[in-house]
């Protein structure tokens, strides 16, 4: 099953069983239904599906207004950068709403433009930046396990959050690798337990991390594989303990932000762990070429990393 089909199925199950839920957004009930994200969605009794006008500031605030009146909603958004038009709602309005102990839910589900070929707007593969403007709970979906746990736990639950999905992964078969651990908040997932290296993925980098894990395994290097699916810092003592054991750390962060989520982990690791290897895979953004239409792929020297970790 494709990534987007699986997410659509999970969302559809959740929305259909929820009463008085309002789904809204541009083109959510027309055309391609946001490339399939909102295709065939239904809501429970008393709910509404609104194919909304192109008014992102108002749409962002709309959900908060409904929260204040005791109504839950989900705002589906074609591209994460459209959410920039609603920033003041994310900051000022959310700061008002978060003081209250509300039992209703408001979730924004934007598609992160990480495909690259949309040109200038594709530079905004910065999910963490959006969520951190007001310390908003934010989650990214990269595979079958995190999709199921994040959507089932957070899509309709008390409070407000943003759940980002990857446009690059839409047409790909959803990765299904099982898991060995996830925390209650669904901010930290562990997929493999090894003793020679610790791989930690951020933003939407899990597919890269999985590929590295497999290449290391082919060379007999058994690794632990984590994904941090949330805005950092989080409680990540499980990663720290793992790094203390392996003494080899690889972090992979495919965000284009200047303020990378992985940096928070690196600070803690460097304070608490003795390392033989610290390998940081992030984007080299020089000049303006990264702004222009491009594949937006993170460049990883897999062989170099395998070689480096094999030498110790």
């Amino acid at each position: 099953m494709k990534y987007i089909e699986y997410i659509n199925e999970l969302i559809g199950k959740k929305t259909a069983e929820t009463e008085k839920l309002v789904l809204f957004g541009q083109n959510i009930a027309a055309g391609s239904h946001l490339s399939g994200l909102t295709k065939g969605l239904k809501v429970g009794d008393g709910g509404l599906i609104i194919n909304a006008p192109n008014s992102e500031n108002t749409l962002t605030g709309l959900g908060f207004g409904m929260m204040l009146d005791g109504v839950s909603s989900i705002f589906f958004m074609k591209q994460l950068d459209f959410l920039l038009l609603g920033i003041d709602q994310l900051v000022d309005t959310y700061n008002f709403v978060r003081r209250k102990k509300l039992t209703v839910s408001y979730t924004i589900v934007p598609i992160i433009s990480d495909l690259g070929y949309h040109g200038l707007q594709s530079s905004f593969n910065n999910f963490g930046d959006i969520a951190s403007v007001a310390r908003i709970p934010g989650f990214t979906i990269t595979n079958k396990v995190d999709a199921e746990e994040i959507i089932n736990t957070h899509l309709v639950s008390s409070g407000f959050r943003i759940i980002g999905v990857s446009q690059r992964l839409f047409g790909q078969e959803i990765l299904d690798v099982g898991k060995s651990y996830s925390n209650n908040e669904k901010t930290l997932f562990q997929y493999r337990e090894g003793h020679k290296a610790t791989i930690v993925c951020f933003n939407l980098a899990f597919p890269y991390g999985l590929e590295l894990y497999n290449k290391l395994k082919e060379k007999g290097i058994d690794s632990s594989l984590f994904s941090v699916n949330a805005v950092t810092p989080i409680e990540w003592s499980k990663i720290i303990e793992n790094v203390k054991k392996t003494e080899n750390l690889v972090v992979i962060d495919d965000s284009k932000s200047e303020n990378l989520s992985c940096d928070n982990l690196l600070v803690d690791v460097l304070e608490q762990c003795q390392l033989n290897n610290k390998i940081v895979v992030k984007r080299e953004l020089r000049g303006n070429e990264w702004l222009y239409p491009n594949p937006d792929l993170l460049q990883i020297d897999y062989d170099g990393i395998v070689s480096q970790l094999s030498s110790k």
């Binding site: 108002t58 605030g61 908060f64 207004g65 009146d69 005791g70 109504v71 309005t93 008002f96 003081r99």
Partner: protein, 315 residues
């Protein structure tokens, strides 16, 4: 205690509310001038009539959404000065437990659902509240207060468009005082033809001026009923003069430049037993004299001021 004669069959409690809100603001102004507040406060002297009118037509399921200049509505809805003063003083006994200060002050218990300090920010939230009312099948009206500055924001257009597109009952009150901070409309933008603008979206347009609170109440009742029945948003423009500004001398001209009272205290107004600021229709207190004799209003004023001082333990 009801010791006053009723003239023209108007409810004297409405007049009392106008006076109470005026006195309350004057007391805030005194304390503000004395440096008691660390937070910015936007006084609304001269705005009392629309606030009292809105309060008087609100019912259980209605919701009020405010902006940074909200003191008049909060006084009208809260019916007391002390919790608001305590909030301004950032005391835990304050109306919002010192969490909101002035510019975001709301009072959920009295249906002031949300207040924003950001121009235009409250319009989308009000639209969401109206959508929530629709989902719940409520018969309430969402009333959102904005101004001639905030209506320049894109959210004004967006929210009206959404409300009309989804048949939401909403009343958008534009307090038009001709100023955005310290810039007049004519100095910052071309004219917006609000009747045409509203009509272009299929929304209703109404206008109030003159600060006659009794007329305002009657108009608001009709507007509210129409909006709830038709499920069409209404834009209500209210002409207002924010009192308390002053002139500064320019090139020997003593009235060379007018300083609009945006935020902060004004030294041009001092607390007195008769709270009239201007002898014109710009001042709702002056307009009350259409309905009540001056001596009645003055006697009433003295009693209201005494009562407020007792409330805040300054009698």
């Amino acid at each position: 205690m009801e010791t006053y004669s009723m003239e023209n069959n108007q409810d004297i409690n409405i007049a009392k509310e106008i006076l109470r809100i005026r006195f309350s603001q004057m007391i805030v102004n005194e304390k503000y001038g004395a440096g008691l507040f660390k937070i910015p406060i936007h006084l609304a002297l001269g705005h009392e009539a629309i606030a009292v009118a809105v309060d008087s037509v609100m019912q259980e399921n209605d919701r009020l959404v405010l902006s940074h200049r909200n003191i008049h509505y909060n006084l009208a809805r809260t019916k007391a000065l002390k919790p608001i003063l305590d909030e301004y003083l950032l005391k835990k006994e304050g109306l919002a437990k010192a969490e909101l200060g002035s510019m975001n002050l709301a009072n959920e218990a009295r249906n002031v659902a949300y207040t924003s300090s950001i121009l235009g920010n409250n319009l989308p939230v009000a639209t969401g509240l109206a959508l929530g009312q629709k989902v719940k099948g409520s018969n309430g009206l969402v009333i959102v207060v904005t101004g001639d500055g905030a209506m320049e924001e894109g959210s004004f257009y967006e929210s009206l468009l959404f409300a009309k597109s989804n048949s939401l009952a909403a009343l958008v009150i534009i307090e038009n005082n001709n100023w955005s901070m310290h810039t007049k409309i004519e100095a910052r933008r071309s004219n917006i033809d609000l009747p045409k603008f509203a009509a272009s979206l299929g929304a209703s347009y109404e206008k109030l001026n003159g600060n006659d609170v009794y007329e305002y109440i009657e108009h608001l009742k009709k507007i509210k009923e129409k909006s709830l029945t038709s499920k069409i948003p209404t834009v209500l423009e209210v002409d207002i003069t924010t009192l308390g500004g002053w002139y500064v001398e320019v090139d020997g001209n003593k009235e060379g430049r007018y300083i609009h009272l945006h935020a902060g205290p004004t030294s041009k107004i001092t607390l007195a037993e008769w709270p009239e600021i201007e002898q014109s229709a710009n001042d709702p207190i002056f307009v009350l004299q259409k309905y009540f004799a001056a001596d009645i209003l003055k006697t009433m004023s003295q009693e209201i001021l005494k009562s407020i001082k007792e409330e805040i333990s300054e009698a």
